[in-house]
Subunit: 490 residues, 2 copies
C-alpha cells in the first residue's frame, strides 16, 4: 500500500512515520529543501517510540521516497494526506493537482485544523474524495484522528477511511456534521483564549497555567474525558445531580465573556441521556475505582520518567523517608550490620496486579531490584557514584514465590549479603507481606565500568562497606532456599 | 497534628483521606446522617490507591473521629478545611463559628471552586486566617491544590500552608492575584461551555467529546500543559513561531462567541519570555523526546489497565497479530511442536530502560511472563479457561542476563517445555535481541484452582497439549543454563 504525503513538517512527518512503521510505502512531496532532514528527525523520534507501544511484532517498515512533483507522489497511492499551510487557496491548488493524477478511489485526507470539508471541496473535480483527517501531534503516538466528510458522503468512503486509520493504529472519530475546527480544536481554542487572558492580565505565568493543568485535570482527561469525569463527580446521585449543581456557574463570571447555551431541561436530559449511554454500564463506585487505578498507573509511569506528577511523587518519597514513616527506619548513615538489612518497605500499588488477582511475578523482581538499588546506595554505590561511571549489573537471579501478595499489602524486604568480594556481589532478599514470607530473591551481580560495559573492581569505599557487612553477617545461618535451582527437590 | 474537616462529601472525604493516610488525626463535622458512610467509602477508595503511590513506608494512619459541633471539631486543629455547599452566606456562618473556637494560628482553607478570598473573608474576625485551598477530585490522588490569599496576606501564612500541603503530598500552586474560579476552573469552565454547545447543537455526543479529549490532547496535558506542548509544536523555530502561526485563529469562529485579548507584540513577548523561563533549559528536540517517553509510559500503563488509549493499543495488537507482522508467525491453531515455540516478539519500549541505560532487570521477567502467558494460551489455558477457574501460578524462576538490550531492540522469546505432567509445568525461555542471546528464564509453575488458590490438575485438553509438546520436544538436548543455581560454577 502506498501513502502520499503532501507537505512535510511536524504533522506531515508524523503521518509519514505512522504509515511507514505500519508497513506502508510512503512518498513525500515537499518543496522545502530542508524537508528530508526535518522528516528524518521526526522519523527518528517515531522509530524510538512507536514500535514499543505494541506487544507484538510490527510489520516490516515500508519504503520512504521523496518526489519532485505532486503527480509522481500521488500516482498509485491509496491514501493521500495533505498537510500544507492553512490557506484555502493553497489547499485548493494542491487538491486540483492531486485529483488530476491520483486514483479516483484513493482517500484524500486534509490535516486542516479549522477548515470545513465544504470549504476544502470548493472547485474540486471529485468533491466526495476529499475529507478532513485531522491528527494530533505527535501524530505517530496519539491515536485520535477526526474524520469529517460532507453531507453528500456515502458512508462507504468514511468506512474505508476509518479502516485504513485503524490499520495504522489510530482512533477515527467520525464527526457527522461539519463545523469550524471540528471538535478537539474547539475545546483547545477556548482554553487557549482563556489562558491568554490569564497571562495578559498577570494572573498566572505560562508555567503556572501548565502546572494547573498537568497536576490536576490533565491527568483525569488522559483516561476519561470531561463528561465521564463529571458523572463521577456527581457521586451517587449521578449526572443529573452534577448538572444541577454546576449549572449555575454558567451565569457566573468564571471566564472571559462567552456565549452560553440556554441551560434548560431539554439540554439536561440530552446530556444525562448521552452520559447514561456512554457510562451507564458501570456504577459510580466502579467508575471511581477504574479512574483511581488508571491514575495510579499513569502517575507511577510518570514517576519512572521523573516528570510532571511523577516527579512530585519522587520528591514526596524523599520527604516521607526523611520524616521516618511507620516502618523500621534504615539508619541514615551506614547500615545495621549484624542482621538482614531493611532495604524496602512499601505498599503494593494497584497497577502491580494481574489477571490472576494478585501481584504479578515481574513486580516481585521490580521490588527486589529496588531493594538491590537501596542496598547499593547503602554501601556507597549511589547516584553520584553511578554518575562517576561505576555500577552493578545483575547477572543471575532466582525467585521463589511462597505466598500471594495483593494490592494494599505492606511489603518489606530484608537483605543478606551472601558474598561481596572483588567485583562480585551475591544478595539474598526476603520479602514479607506483614508477617507472611511471600517470596525470596537471590541475585548475583557484577560491578561494571559503565564506559566499557565490562566488569571492574568497585571503588575502595564500596569494597570496604561490603567487607564490613560480609564479616558482620558471617555469623548468620545460610538462608533457606539459597543456592536452589528451579524444580530442585527440597 | 489535627486536621478539621467541615463538610464531608466527595471533596471533604477526599481531604479527610489525604490527611489521615499521611498520619494526621482527622476530625469531621458534617450534619448529614449519611456522612460517616459516605466518607467511609471515599476512605476505602483512598486506602486502596494512595499508599501505593509511594515507594517508601507511609506514616501510620491517624485517628478519624466524627463530632457534633464545629467548635469541638476545630479545637486544637492546625488545619481546618471547609467544603460546605457553594453559598457565601453558609460559608460566612461556618467561618464565624470556626474562628470563635479555633487556634488563631491555624490555617482555614476553603475548597471553594469559585469564590475569591476577599468574598470569603467578609465579616471575619481574623481575615488573614482564611485562604482558598482548592483541590481536585479525587483529592486523595491528584496533587494540585490552588492556594489563594488576599492582598493583605503575609507571606508567612502562604508559606506555612504550602509546607503543610506538601507534607500530605500535594502541589501548592500559589495564585498571587485573586480572580473568580482561580485558574484551573476557569479553563474547565470554558471547555464545559463549549462542550455544552457541541452537545446542544448536535455536533457530538458526550462520548464523542470525551474520546476527542482522552485519545488526543488529554494525554499530552497529563504530562506537559498547554504552553509547553505548543512550544514543541512550534518546532525548531520555537514559541514565537507557534504564536505567529496560531495567532490568527483568535479571529476565526473556532468557538462560540468569546472575548479575545488584543494579540499584540507585548503579549507575544510576554508569553515567549515566560515560556523561555519555563522550558528554555531544554531544546525542542529534548522536549520532544521527554514528551514521547512520557506518552509511551502512560499509554502502556493504560494498556495494562485495558482502558482509554491503552484499550486501543490492546485492540491494535490483535489487529497486528492477525495481519501477521514481520516476525515468525506463531501458528493460529496449535503450535510447532518439534522445536522451541516462538512465544514473544516485540520491540523494547522506552519505558523499560533504567538508570544504567539498558532494559531494567524486572522488564526481562515481564517479557518472560508474557511469553509464559502466550504459551499457556497456546496449550488452551486462555482467558476463557482462566475465567472458568483454572490457571497456572509461577512458583520459582531463574534468570540469566547474558547481554544488554536497549530501547528499540526487537526481542524474541522461544520456549522449551522441560516438563509438563500433572499440575506441574517447567518452562525454559530464551530471549534474543536480533541474533544475540540476551537472557534466559527458567520457570516452574503449578496449575491452581482459582477458587481455592490451591494446586489442582489442569483440564484434559491442557494436559493433552502438554503431553504432546513434551513428547515432540523430547528429542531436543537440554538447554544450556537449565537447572543452574545462582552463582554456581559453570
Amino acid at each position: 500500500m502506498i501513502a502520499a504525503i503532501i507537505g512535510g513538517g511536524v504533522i506531515g512527518g508524523g503521518w509519514a512515520a505512522r504509515f511507514l512503521l505500519h508497513g506502508w510505502d510512503v512518498r513525500v512531496f515537499d518543496p522545502d529543501p530542508e524537508a528530508q532532514r526535518k522528516i528524518g528527525e521526526v522519523l527518528d523520534n517515531a522509530r524510538r517510540s512507536l514500535p514499543g507501544l505494541a506487544d507484538v511484532p510490527m510489520p516490516a517498515e515500508g519504503t520512504l521516497s521523496y518526489h519532485d512533483t505532486i503527480e509522481e507522489t500521488v500516482a498509485g497511492a491509496a491514501w493521500i494526506q495533505e498537510s500544507v499551510p492553512e490557506r484555502l487557496d493553497i489547499k485548493h491548488q494542491v487538491f486540483a493537482t492531486v485529483q488530476a493524477a491520483c486514483d479516483p478511489a484513493a482517500v484524500i485526507g486534509s490535516s486542516t485544523s479549522g477548515f470545513r470539508p465544504s470549504e476544502l471541496r470548493q472547485g474540486a473535480v471529485r468533491e466526495g474524495q476529499i475529507i478532513v483527517a485531522h491528527p494530533f501531534n505527535p501524530v505517530y503516538l496519539l491515536p485520535l484522528v477526526e474524520l469529517v466528510g460532507g453531507p453528500a458522503d456515502d458512508a462507504a468512503l468514511i468506512a474505508r477511511a476509518s479502516e485504513i486509520m485503524r490499520g495504522i493504529g489510530m482512533y477515527p472519530l467520525h464527526i457527522r456534521r461539519e463545523i469550524e475546527a471540528h471538535i478537539a480544536d474547539r475545546l483547545l481554542e477556548v482554553v487557549w483564549r482563556e489562558a491568554l487572558w490569564l497571562v495578559k492580565d498577570g494572573i498566572a505565568t505560562t508555567e503556572e497555567i501548565d502546572n494547573a493543568i498537568r497536576y490536576g485535570f490533565g491527568l483525569r482527561w488522559a483516561q476519561m474525558g470531561l463528561f465521564e469525569t463529571y458523572r463521577i463527580a456527581g457521586g451517587e446521585a449521578g449526572m443529573k445531580h452534577f448538572l444541577a449543581q454546576f449549572g449555575p456557574t454558567l451565569a457566573l463570571p468564571w471566564c472571559k465573556l462567552t456565549d452560553v447555551p440556554e441551560y434548560d431541561d431539554d439540554l439536561v436530559d440530552l446530556i444525562a441521556g448521552q452520559s447514561d449511554a456512554q457510562s451507564g454500564a458501570w456504577t459510580i463506585r466502579e467508575l471511581e475505582r477504574i479512574r483511581d487505578a488508571n491514575l495510579v498507573a499513569m502517575m507511577r509511569a510518570l514517576k519512572q520518567q521523573d516528570w510532571g506528577a511523577g516527579a512530585l511523587l519522587k520528591a514526596h518519597d524523599l520527604r516521607l523517608r526523611d520524616a521516618g514513616g511507620a516502618g523500621e527506619a534504615a539508619p541514615a548513615d551506614g547500615i545495621a550490620e549484624d542482621g538482614p538489612v531493611l532495604t524496602l518497605s512499601q505498599t503494593v500499588p494497584l497497577d502491580w496486579l494481574d489477571y490472576n488477582g494478585h501481584m504479578n511475578e515481574s513486580r516481585y523482581l521490580e521490588a527486589f531490584a529496588s531493594a538491590t538499588d537501596r542496598f547499593m546506595e547503602l554501601i556507597g554505590c549511589d547516584a553520584e557514584y553511578i554518575a562517576a561511571g561505576g555500577s552493578y549489573f545483575t547477572v543471575e537471579s532466582h525467585l521463589r514465590h511462597l505466598d500471594e501478595a495483593h494490592a494494599g499489602d505492606v511489603i518489606t524486604i530484608h537483605t543478606r549479603l551472601l558474598a561481596g568480594e572483588g567485583r562480585k556481589m551475591h544478595l539474598f532478599h526476603t520479602m514479607r507481606a506483614g508477617e507472611r514470607e511471600v517470596a525470596t530473591g537471590e541475585h548475583f551481580l557484577l560491578h561494571v565500568n559503565l564506559e566499557t560495559r565490562r566488569p571492574s573492581d568497585p571503588g575502595p569505599q564500596v569494597a570496604e562497606a561490603l567487607a564490613r557487612i560480609a564479616a558482620a553477617q558471617g555469623g548468620l545461618s545460610r538462608p533457606e532456599g539459597a543456592g536452589r535451582a528451579v524444580g530442585q527437590r527440597p
